[in-house]
Amino acid sequence: MKIEGEHVFNGSREEVWAMVRDPEVLATMLPGTTKLSQLSENEYEGAINLRIGPISGGFSGRVVVEDEMPPEHCKLVAEGEGRPGFFKGSGTVDLIEVDAGTLMKYEGEIQIGGKLASIGQRLIDMTSKTMIRQGMKVLDAALDKRKAQAAD
Amino acid sequence: MSNVMDITVTVNGEVFQRRIEPRLLLSDFIRHELNLSGTHVGCEQGVCGACTILFDGMPVRSCLMFAVQADGHEIRTVEDLGTMEDLHPLQEAFWETHALQCGFCTSGFLMSILPVLEQNSGLSEDDLRHALEGNLCRCTGYQHIEDAVRLAAEKMSSGGES
C-alpha cells in the first residue's frame, strides 16, 4: 500500500520537528499505544492495541529513524507483527516552510501480510486514511499545547 | 472461558433445550448439537448462503448468528420440508429439473426460495431471479435452479401442499 499526503501545521519547522521527534507525542498520535520505548537515539520499540471499529488487535514492532536532517527530513523504517498480521514499511517525512506554517509531506510504502491482508484488503487503505487524519488532528492539538506551554 | 447459557429453541416444530457457550454459531448448533446436518456451512462469512435457514420465517445465514440468539425463537431447516418418500413441491421441482449436482448448496437454496414462494403468488421472472442472488452454486451454473424455482412456483400456486 502506498501512503502519500501532506498536512499544514500551524507552527515553525523547528517546533514541528521537535514535536514529531518526541516519543510521548508519537505515542498519543496512535490511540491504543500501550508501550513505546526508545532503544537508542533513532530506534523505538512499541506495542499498540489497534482498534478500528469492531476490529482490534495487538501489534508490536519497532521504528528506526534514518537519514535524519533536522528540521526538514527523515526516513522511517518500521516493521512489526501481531495477531491480525504483520507489516513492514518505510517512508519519508519532509517539513517545508510555507506561509501558513509548516507543510509536512509524507510518502511511503507499507506491506501488510497475514489475516488482515488476505481477508481485509478493502479495509486497509481506508483505515490508513482514517488513522492518518486522526493522527494529524492529535498532532495539531499537541502542537498548540506545546506552543502554549512554551509561551508560558 | 466457560460461561454457558441455557436456551430453548423450537426447530422444525420440536422444542429443544440445550446448554451452550454464547459463542457457538447457530450453524454449528443446528448441525452438531441438534444433529440436523442438512444445513451446510460453506464460508462462515455470510457470502455463500449454504447455511441459510428460516428464523421466525425469514431466511437468514445461520453462520452469522449465535445459537444463544435463537433462544425463544422458531427455526426451520431443510429437514422440515418433505421426506425422501414424500418430497415438498419445491424439492420435487429441484429433482425434476436437475437443479442440484453435488447437493452441498442445495438446502441453502431451498430455504432461501421457500419463503419467497410461500409468501407470494404471481412472482415475476425478476422476483424469482432475485431470490437466488444470495446463494452460490459452483456446479449448476444456476440455470436449472432457475427452472426449478419457476416450476415450484407453478406447483405451489396450483394448490400443492403448504
Binding site: 506491506q111 497475514g114 491482508a117 | 440436523l36 457470502v47 436437475h98 453435488c102 440455470q143
Partner: protein, 782 residues
C-alpha cells in the same frame, strides 16, 4: 426388448437424499469421543522455521494434544509424487519436490501448516492456535514466474537453482522451416492468472483408528479414495485391508480434491493412530484459499506462422507454468496446455518449450479444465489476431484450418498427459460450428444487428470459439454388479462422486442391461470397503472409464442371467428377453422368472453345487482405454459492454457439445452449465491476487468473485454425437468441457464489442478495471 435407458432424461437417484438433507458429507460424521483438529499455518510465504513451541497450547483446558514436525519423528516425510514426468520424452528435466505434512525447516508458501492442535472442540482448538509461539525468520519471496528464473531470485528450494521444476521441449514437424515459408508470422505474449476451484464444500477429514479391531477408517473429501487408502496403508505400515477410506457425498471437487496427499490427510491419520481417538478436521474457507491447490498461472510467448490465405503452417508456444511451492502433480497441467494449443486444427508444425517454475505460492494441480483453457486461449486468440491481420472473417479462418473428417484417429505426435502420443480418436468439427453459428445467428448479427447497434453507440460483440478436450484417460476403473435376491441390483465402483450423477448414469447403464427400473439399482461409490481397485474421479473420466467398466460388468451379469434362465425356463437364450425385472420367453410371456428368483437359485444349497459353479449373479469387470477420448464443440456468445462503466453483460450463450454418446442429456447439460459458469468466472471475475510477499490478497468469497445467478446468462445447449471408437458405450467426458473455451470466447466477444483498432486482449481474466485501462489507453492513442 430391454427398454432403452441410455440417452434418456432421467432424474437422479441420489437427489431425494440430497434434497432432504439426508446425504452424508464428511462434516456430518459424528463419532463418540471424537476430537477436533485445527492447524496453525504460516502467514509468511517464505521463512526459515527456527522453532515452534506448543507448550502453552497444551495447558489450555480442552486441548488434548499439539504436534509439530519434530513430534512426528520418522513418520515425517514429504508426500509421494502423484504423477511422474512422462518417461517417453527424451531429455526431460524434472525435479520432484513434494509437500510436507508439517513444516520442518522452511516455509515455502503462506498457508503451510506448522503445527496441529487437537482439542475437544474446534472452538477450543482455534483458541489454542493463538497460544503457540512460532519463531519464523522471513525470507525474500518470489511470486513472479519470470523473476523466479533469474539467477538472483530467492530460491524456493535451496538446492534448486534457479527455481526450475521442469523443462521439456515438444516438437511436431519442423516449426523453424514452417516459419521460413510463412507469409505472416504473428507474435504475441499471453498471460493467464490463477483461480481457485471453489467447491462449495471445503475439504474435510475424519480419521478413526479402532485399536481393538486394528482398523483405520478415514472419511475424506477426496476424489480418489482408493489411492488414498493405498498410500495411507503404505505410509503407516498397515495392510490395505486394515484401511477403509470413504469418500461419501462430496460437495464439489473440480480437481483439487484429488491432490493426494494433502498434509492434513497424513496428519489426521498419524494423530488418530497415535491417540486411538477419532479426530475431525474441517477446512475453513480461508484455509481453502491458501491450503488447497489452485491453477491456471502461465505466461506464453506465442508465434503463429500462416499463409496469406489464413492456413496455419506452424505454431510455436514457449511458456512458463507456475507450479507453486511443490510439484507433486508432475506435468499434467502443462502437457494438457500443449496438446490443447493444437486445438481441432491441422497444425503440421509445432514447437513448444515448457518451463515449470517454483514460486512461493500455493501449489497448483488440475482445476476443472486442467491446463486446457490456457491452451485453447492461446490458439484461439492467435487465430483471432491472424484473422484481423489477414482480413479474413474469424469464423472462416477456423473453418479453413479444421482437421477434416477423414483423418481420425489423428496422431498429433506430441506426448499428452497420459504419456502417450496425443491421438485424437474422432471428430466432426465443422457441423458443430455451423450449428452454433446458426443458433446464435452469426450472419444476421454481424451483418445487420451489430452495425445498427453500433450506430446507436452501443458496444455489442459476438464471439465464436471451437475447442477440443481430451477426456477419459486411463489407467482403468472397475465395477461390480450384483443381482440381489430381492431382484434389486447393487453395484459398486471405486470412483468417488462429487456431484457428477454417477448414481444415476451408472444405474441407467445397468438398468438397460438387466431390464430393471433405474431406481432399483443401488450404487456405492467411493468406499474402499466396497471396491478395491481404481484411481478416481478426475480428467472427465467417470462417464468414460468407470461407466464402461460398469457396462462391462452389467453385460457379464446379463450373460449369467440369460444362461441360468435358459436352464430354468428350458428355452434357448436367444429367445429370452429381460424386462421389468423378469426374464421371459419372448413368444410366451407367461413363461417367466423374476431376477430375484434367479438370484436365489444362483446361490446353490448344499448338494446342488456342480464343479466350477460360481455363486451369484454377480460380476466384476474393468475397463482401461488405450488412450483418452477427445470431445469437442463450439461455443458462441453475444456481449454488450457499457462503454462508460466497462461492465459487461452476456446477452446470449450458445454451446454445441459433442461428448460422444450422451448417457443422460439432463445431466450432460447440467455439467455444461456449471462448466460455463466456472469459465465465466475465469474470464471476468475470478482472479487470485498475490502481492510481492506472496500474500494472497483476496482469500475470501467477499473479494474473490464467484459468479452468482445474476452473472450467468441462460445457456442454450445443443448436442452432437460422434461416438468414441475407443469404448463400447462410445462416450466421452464432459465434466470439464463447459469451462474450457470460455475465457478465449469472452476475450474475443469483448474485443469485438469494444471495436477499437489496436485494442487486443491478451490476458485472462479480465475485469472492468482492466477493460477501462485498455479501452481508455487505446481511445487516448486513437
Amino acid at each position: 426388448m430391454t427398454a432403452k435407458l441410455i440417452g434418456k432424461r432421467i432424474k437422479r437417484n441420489e437427489d431425494p437424499r440430497l434434497l432432504t438433507g439426508q446425504a452424508l458429507f464428511v462434516d456430518d460424521v459424528e463419532l463418540p469421543g471424537m476430537l477436533h483438529a485445527a492447524f496453525l499455518r504460516s502467514e509468511y510465504a517464505h521463512a526459515r522455521l527456527k522453532g515452534v513451541d506448543v507448550s502453552a497450547a497444551l495447558e489450555r483446558p480442552g486441548v488434548v494434544a499439539a504436534f509439530t514436525a519434530e513430534d512426528m519423528g520418522d513418520a515425517w516425510s514429504p508426500g509421494p509424487p502423484l504423477v511422474i514426468p512422462p518417461p517417453t520424452i527424451e531429455e526431460v528435466e524434472f525435479y520432484t519436490r513434494t509437500q510436507v505434512p508439517l513444516v520442518k525447516d522452511k516455509v515455502r508458501h503462506a498457508g503451510e501448516p506448522l503445527a496441529i492442535v487437537i482439542a475437544e472442540s474446534r472452538y477450543i482448538a482455534e483458541d489454542a492456535l493463538d497460544d503457540i509461539v512460532v519463531d519464523l525468520e522471513p525470507l525474500d519471496v518470489v511470486t513472479d514466474i519470470e523473476r523466479a528464473l533469474d539467477s538472483d531470485s530467492p530460491l524456493v528450494h535451496d538446492d534448486l537453482e534457479p527455481n526450475l521444476a521442469a523443462h521439456l521441449v515438444q516438437e511436431k514437424g519442423d516449426y523453424a522451416a514452417a516459419r521460413e515459408e510463412a507469409d505472416t508470422v504473428i507474435k504475441r505474449r499471453i498471460t493467464i492468472e490463477r483461480g481457485i476451484a471453489g467447491a462449495m464444500e471445503n475439504r474435510g477429514i475424519v480419521a478413526s483408528w479402532d485399536n481393538k479391531q486394528q482398523q483405520l477408517t478415514v472419511w475424506d473429501t477426496t476424489q480418489s479414495p482408493i489411492p488414498i487408502r493405498n498410500g495411507l496403508a503404505s505410509m503407516f505400515g498397515l495392510s490395505e485391508h486394515q484401511v477403509r477410506v470413504i469418500a461419501p457425498f462430496v460437495g464439489g471437487g473440480f480437481g483439487p480434491k484429488i491432490m493426494m496427499f494433502y498434509p492434513e490427510e497424513v496428519l489426521l491419520t498419524w494423530s488418530t493412530l497415535k491417540m486411538g481417538k477419532p479426530i475431525k478436521w474441517i477446512e475453513d474457507r480461508r484455509e481453502n484459499f491458501y491450503a488447497t491447490t489452485q491453477e491456471r498461472g502461465q505466461v506464453h510467448d506465442v508465434e503463429l506462422a500462416l499463409t496469406s490465405d489464413g492456413r496455419i503452417l506452424g505454431l510455436r508456444d514457449d511458456f512458463l507454468h507456475d507450479t507453486g511451492a511443490y510439484d507433486p502433480y508432475g506435468l499434467t497441467i502443462p502437457l494438457n496446455t500443449q496438446c490443447h494449443a493444437l486445438g481441432p486444427y491441422d497444425i503440421p508444425n509445432f514447437s513448444s518449450d515448457l518451463k515449470v517454475v517454483f514460486t512461493n505460492k500455493t501449489l497448483t494441480t488440475p482445476v476443472r479444465g486442467a491446463g486446457r483453457p490456457q491452451g485453447v486461449y492461446v490458439i484461439e486468440r492467435m487465430l483471432d489476431i491472424a484473422a484481423k491481420e489477414l482480413g479474413i472473417d474469424r469464423v472462416e479462418i477456423r473453418k479453413r484450418n479444421f482437421l477434416p473428417n477423414d483423418v481420425f484417429p489423428y496422431d498429433n505426435i506430441i506426448i499428452d498427459q497420459a504419456f502417450a502420443s496425443f491421438v485424437i480418436d474422432s471428430g466432426d468439427y465443422l457441423p458443430a460450428m455451423e450449428k452454433a453459428l446458426e443458433m446464435i445467428g452469426y450472419e444476421k448479427f454481424t451483418k445487420e444487428e451489430q452495425p445498427k447497434l453500433r450506430e446507436e453507440g452501443r458496444r455489442v460483440g459476438i464471439g465464436v470459439v471451437s475447442f477440443i478436450e481430451t477426456t477419459g484417460v486411463g489407467p482403468y476403473e472397475g465395477a461390480r454388479v450384483t443381482i440381489e435376491s430381492s431382484g434389486k441390483i447393487s453395484a459398486a465402483t471405486g470412483v468417488g462422486t462429487q456431484g457428477q450423477s454417477h448414481f444415476t448414469t451408472f444405474a441407467q447403464i445397468i438398468a438397460e442391461q438387466l431390464g430393471v427400473d433405474v431406481r432399483d439399482v443401488h450404487l456405492v461409490t467411493g468406499d474402499t470397503a466396497q471396491f478395491h481397485w481404481g484411481t478416481g474421479t478426475f480428467a472427465s473420466r467417470g462417464a468414460v472409464v468407470a461407466a464402461n467398466a460398469v457396462n462391462a460388468a452389467a453385460s457379464i451379469v446379463r450373460g449369467k442371467v440369460l444362461k441360468l434362465a435358459s436352464e430354468v425356463l428350458e428355452t434357448p437364450e436367444e429367445e429370452l428377453e429381460i424386462e421389468d425385472g423378469v426374464v421371459r420367453v419372448a413368444d410366451i410371456p407367461t413363461r417367466s422368472i423374476t431376477l430375484g428368483d434367479l438370484a436365489q437359485r444362483s446361490n446353490p444349497l448344499r448338494g446342488a453345487v456342480e464343479p466350477g459353479t460360481e455363486p451369484g449373479l454377480e460380476a466384476t469387470a474393468y475397463f482401461g482405454p488405450n488412450y483418452g477420448a477427445t470431445a469437442f464443440g463450439t461455443h458462441a456468445m453475444i456481449v454488450e459492454v457499457d462503454p462508460e462503466t466497462m461492465m459487461v453483460e452476456i446477452k446470449r450463450y450458445i454451446v454445441v457439445e459433442d461428448c460422444g454418446t450422451v448417457l443422460n442429456p439432463l445431466i450432460v447439460e447440467g455439467q455444461i452449465h456449471g462448466g460455463v459458469a466456472h469459465g465465466i468466472g475465469n474470464s471476468f471475475y475470478e482472479k487470485l491476487v498475490f502481492d510481492d510477499n506472496g500474500q494472497l490478497l483476496n482469500a475470501s468469497f467477499m473479494d474473490y468473485l464467484i459468479p452468482t445467478a445474476a452473472e450467468v446468462p441462460r445457456i442454450e445447449v445443443a448436442h452432437q454425437e460422434t461416438p468414441s471408437p475407443l469404448n463400447p458405450l462410445g462416450s466421452k467426458g464432459v465434466g470439464e468441457a463447459g469451462a474450457i473455451p470460455v475465457p478465449a470466447l469472452f476475450a474475443q466477444a469483448v474485443e469485438n464489442a469494444l471495436g477499437v483498432d489496436g485494442l487486443e486482449i491478451l490476458e485472462s481474466p479480465l475485469s472492468p478495471q482492466r477493460l477501462f485501462e485498455l479501452f481508455y489507453e487505446e481511445e487516448k492513442d486513437a
